[in-house]
C-alpha cells in the first residue's frame, strides 16, 4: 500500500497527490511514469511522474478527473493509501544538449511539461513555456511555470485571461519573431501535440512529445500501448513514453485512444450517480 501524504486541488478537475513510494522515488527521472490501481476491481492506469523527492521518498502525480478510475482515486484523501503503485516505468527524457527550448503544455499536460521545463531551465537552457487552457479558471501551476522559464505565454481557448488562442498560435508567433528554438517539447492532448508537430515540421524544429496511451502492465507484455513511429510499431511503455513527435502516426493514436471511450463514459456516469446517491443518503 502506498500512503497519500498530500492532496491538493489544482482546479475543478485536477488534483495533485504526493505519494510515499521510496523505492520508486530513488530511481525516478523526468519523463517516466507509474501505473496505479485504486482497488481490487479497478483498472491499472498510467500517470506520468510530475515530481519526486529522493530524500522524502515521495512521488508526485497530477491527474485530471476524466473517468471512473480517476473519480475513484479522487475519493482518497491524505492518510489513505493507493493499493498498487508501480514504477518508475518507461525511459527517462533525454533533453541534454539543447540551448533554446519551447516547452508546451496543454491542460493537464502542463503538469508534465512543467518539470521538463524546470530541468531544461536548471541546465542553463533558454526556456519559453507556452501553456494552453480552455478557460482562465482552469489555469494551474502558473507561479511554478513562471519560475521555470524565461518567458511564460498563457493562452486560453476563450480568451478569458486576455490571451485568446491555441498554443500553436503563440508558438508560431514566437518562431516567426525569431525565437530560434532548437527544441520543442509538447505535452498535452493528442490533437494538440499533433497540431504542434505539424507546425514545427514546417520549420524543421526537433519536437519531443510524451505519449500516454491505454496500457495494462507497462513492461512490454500486453502491446496495448503500441503506436506507429516512423512506420514502425513501438510500445510506449518500453520504447517511450517520449517520441520524436514528427514521426508519430497521430491519427492512429487518436483512434486507439478512443477504443473504450463509450464504455468509459457510461461507467463514469454510473459511478457519479452512485456517489450522488450515497451523498444523499448520508
Amino acid at each position: 500500500m502506498f500512503p497519500i501524504l498530500k492532496k491538493r486541488r489544482l482546479n475543478d478537475s485536477m488534483t495533485l497527490m504526493v505519494v510515499r513510494a521510496p523505492l520508486i522515488a530513488r530511481k525516478a527521472h523526468a519523463g517516466q511514469f507509474i501505473i496505479l490501481r485504486v482497488n481490487e476491481q479497478g483498472e491499472r492506469i498510467p500517470l506520468t511522474i510530475a515530481d519526486y523527492d529522493r530524500e522524502q521518498g515521495t512521488v508526485t502525480i497530477i491527474y485530471q478527473i476524466v473517468g471512473k478510475t480517476t473519480l475513484l482515486l479522487d475519493q482518497l484523501n491524505e492518510g489513505d493509501s493507493i493499493l498498487d503503485f508501480v514504477g518508475p516505468l518507461g525511459k527517462p527524457s533525454h533533453l541534454e544538449g539543447y540551448q533554446n527550448a519551447a516547452v508546451i503544455g496543454g491542460g493537464a499536460g502542463c503538469a508534465i511539461a512543467y518539470p521538463q521545463a524546470k530541468t531544461l531551465h536548471a541546465r542553463g537552457a533558454k526556456v519559453d513555456i507556452i501553456a494552453g487552457f480552455r478557460t482562465k479558471d482552469l489555469i494551474i501551476l502558473e507561479d511554478e511555470m513562471r519560475a521555470a522559464s524565461d518567458r511564460l505565454f498563457l493562452m486560453t481557448d476563450d480568451g478569458s485571461n486576455g490571451h485568446k488562442g491555441f498554443v500553436t498560435d503563440a508558438l508560431k508567433k514566437n518562431i516567426e519573431a525569431g525565437a530560434g528554438y532548437d527544441l520543442v517539447v509538447a505535452i498535452g492532448p493528442l490533437v494538440m501535440m499533433r497540431a504542434v508537430c505539424n507546425l514545427t515540421k514546417k520549420y524543421g524544429i526537433k519536437t519531443i512529445i510524451s505519449m500516454n496511451p491505454i496500457m495494462i502492465d507497462g513492461t512490454g507484455m500486453c502491446g496495448g500501448c503500441r503506436l506507429t513511429v516512423g512506420g514502425k510499431t513501438r510500445f510506449a511503455c518500453v520504447d517511450g513514453p517520449d517520441f520524436d513527435g514528427q514521426e508519430v502516426d497521430f491519427d492512429e493514436a487518436i483512434r486507439r485512444s478512443r477504443t473504450y471511450s463509450e464504455m468509459e463514459r457510461k461507467s463514469a456516469q454510473e459511478f457519479k450517480c452512485r456517489l450522488l446517491e450515497e451523498a444523499k443518503n448520508a
Binding site: K27, Q41, K68, T69, T219, C222, R255, R256, M263
Partner: protein
C-alpha cells in the same frame, strides 16, 4: 491385477454448448471412484518409463498406487516431493508428449491418465488436506527470484524447502505470471493458482508484487541487499505482431492483451472495471495453445463466430490435440493453410475485415515442418470486428538490458549452461521462457528446479 480396459476413464466435463457461454472450468475432475478405477490401470513397470518423461521427475507409479489404495492425501505428498504446483500441472501439462507418451499402456490403447490422476490428488488435498509438514529450518541464506510464473515459483518452492529465505519479485499486482494473466479461468481456475501460491507462502516464500526488477531495483542492488544468488524467470512476454497493414486499427489485440484483460483483470465480470470490446465476429491468428485460449475466450465473451486462421495444416498445429478438440466442440471454426495479409478498417478506424491468402505446403523448413507458401491470387476476406494476434512472444528485454554481464542470443533469450541454468553472470541463474522462448509451463518448472539445485550448490561452495 491391473484393470486391462484399453480406454482412459473419461473425465466428466461441461457440455460444449453450455461451457462455451461461461468461464467455469471445462473439465470437472475425477470423483474418488473414477480416480481409483483409472489408477488401477497402472502396470507399475519396474523401469518406470513415465517418470523419465516428466521434466520434474514426479514419482508417478508411487502416487498412483496411493490413489488406488484410497490414500489421495498420500498421493499428493508424493507428487509434492518434486513438484511445487501439482494442481496446475495436472491441468495444463502436455502429458501426451511427456509421461503419458512413455506409458506402456499407450502401446495398446490409451496410456494411464496420469495428468487426470495428478489433478485428482491435488484437488483432493486442496479440499481436505493439510500443508503443515513443509516447515523447514532456515539456513540463513537469501535468494531473490525475479518473476512469479511457473519457473520462478518452482525455483522458490524448491529453495525454500532446502531452507533458503526466498523473496519473489513480481511486476504485476498479482503473483502467478502466465498462470494468472495468460491461461484462462475455464482451463485453470485462478482460485487454484492462488491456493498453490498461498501454499508456497505458508512454506515461507516471500512474494513482493508491484516490483519491476530492472527498473525499481537492479540485479546489482539485489546482491547489495544481501541476496547471494538471483534467479530470473521473467518469461517470454513481448507479443509479436505480423507487421501487416491494419494492425493499429481499433479491435486488433495481441493475445497477451486480450487474455490479460479477461484473466488477470477479469473483464468478463460485471464487478470489475476493466473494459474489453465485445466483438461479434473474431479472427484469432496462430496455431498454438494460446490461440485456442484466445478463441475460446472470445466465444465466452459472446462472439457469434470465431475463426482460427493458421498458415499451415492441422497436423502441423503446435496446440495440444485436446485443446483443439475442445475448441472444435465449442464451435470454433478453423481456416487452415490461410495467412493474413491485411486488416481492413471502417471509416472510424475499427476492424471491418481480415484479408487472407491461401497457402500450400512446400519443403520442410528449419523447424522440420513443411514450409507454407502463399498461393498467388487466392486472397479472400473474412468479415470480422476483432482480430487477436496469437503468433507468439519474444523474451522481454527489460531485465536483460538493465543487467550488466547477462548475455542473450540473437533471439533475445538469456544464455544459460544446460542443466545448471547458470547465466554468463556469476550468481545469476535463469530458466523458463526467458531462456527457451515461448514453451510450456512444465518445461519452465523443470528449468526452475534445475536452477534451484545449482543455486544450492553455488551457495554451499561459497560459504
Amino acid at each position: 491385477m491391473p484393470d486391462m480396459n484399453p480406454h482412459k476413464t473419461p473425465m466428466p466435463e461441461q457440455a460444449p454448448e453450455v461451457r462455451s457461454k461461461n468461464f467455469d472450468e471445462v473439465a470437472l475432475g475425477y470423483t474418488e471412484e473414477l480416480a481409483k478405477r483409472e489408477a488401477a490401470r497402472c502396470l507399475h513397470c519396474k523401469n518406470q518409463p513415465c517418470v523419465g518423461g516428466c521434466p520434474v521427475g514426479v514419482h508417478i507409479p508411487d502416487f498412483i498406487r496411493s490413489i488406488a489404495q484410497g490414500d489421495a492425501e498420500g498421493a499428493y505428498h508424493t507428487i509434492r516431493l518434486t513438484n511445487s504446483l501439482p494442481a496446475v500441472c495436472g491441468r495444463v501439462c502436455p502429458q501426451e508428449n511427456q509421461c503419458e507418451k512413455n506409458c506402456v499402456r499407450g502401446r495398446r490403447g490409451d496410456p494411464v491418465g496420469i495428468g487426470r490422476l495428478e489433478r485428482f490428488a491435488a484437488d483432493w488435498h486442496m479440499k481436505h488436506g493439510r500443508d503443515e509438514q513443509y516447515k523447514v529450518e532456515k539456513n540463513g541464506h537469501k535468494v531473490a527470484v525475479v518473476g512469479s510464473g511457473p519457473a520462478g515459483l518452482t525455483c522458490a518452492g524448491d529453495l525454500a524447502a532446502m531452507g533458503y529465505s526466498v523473496t519473489v519479485f513480481e511486476a504485476l499486482h498479482a503473483a502467478g505470471g502466465v498462470l494468472m494473466y495468460g491461461i484462462p479461468q475455464f482451463r485453470l481456475p485462478k482460485e487454484i493458482v492462488q491456493r498453490e501460491i498461498d501454499s508456497l507462502r505458508r512454506q515461507g516464500v516471500k512474494i513482493e508484487t508491484d516490483m519491476v526488477i530492472g527498473k525499481v531495483l537492479s540485479v546489482d542492488e539485489l546482491f547489495e541487499n544481501g541476496f547471494e544468488a538471483v534467479f530470473i524467470g521473467t518469461g517470454a512476454g513481448l507479443p509479436r505482431f505480423m507487421n501487416i497493414p491494419g494492425e493499429g486499427l481499433v479491435g486488433v489485440y495481441s493475445a497477451n492483451e486480450f487474455l490479460t484483460r479477461v484473466n488477470l483483470m477479469k473483464a468478463y465480470r460485471q464487478d470489475y472495471d476493466t473494459p474489453i470490446l465485445k466483438p461479434k465476429k473474431v479472427a484469432v491468428v496462430g496455431g498454438g495453445n494460446v490461440t485456442m485460449d484466445a478463441a475460446r475466450t472470445a466465444l465466452r465473451l459472446g462472439a457469434e463466430t470465431v475463426s482460427v486462421v493458421y498458415r499451415r495444416a492441422e497436423e502441423q498445429m503446435p496446440a495440444r490435440r485436446e485443446e483443439v478438440h475442445h475448441a472444435k466442440e465449442e464451435g470454433v471454426i478453423f481456416d487452415f493453410l490461410s495467412n493474413p495479409v491485411k486488416i481492413h478498417g471502417d471509416e472510424n478506424g475499427r476492424v471491418a475485415s481480415i484479408e487472407c491468402i491461401h497457402m500450400k505446403l512446400g519443403e520442410p523448413d528449419s523447424s522440420g515442418r513443411r514450409r507454407p507458401i502463399p498461393i498467388e491470387g487466392s486472397n479472400f476476406s473474412l468479415p470480422v470486428d476483432c482480430v487477436v494476434m496469437a503468433i507468439g512472444n519474444s523474451p522481454n528485454p527489460l531485465i536483460r538490458s538493465a543487467t550488466k554481464g547477462l548475455e542473450a542470443n540473437e533471439r533475445g533469450c538469456i544464455v544459460v549452461k544446460d542443466n545448471t541454468m547458470e547465466t554468463t553472470r556469476e550468481g545469476v541463474y535463469a530458466a523458463g521462457d526467458a531462456v527457451s522462448g515461448a514453451a510450456t509451463v512444465i518445461l519452465a518448472m523443470g528449468g526452475g528446479k534445475d536452477a534451484a539445485k545449482s543455486i544450492d550448490r553455488y551457495i554451499r561452495a561459497k560459504s
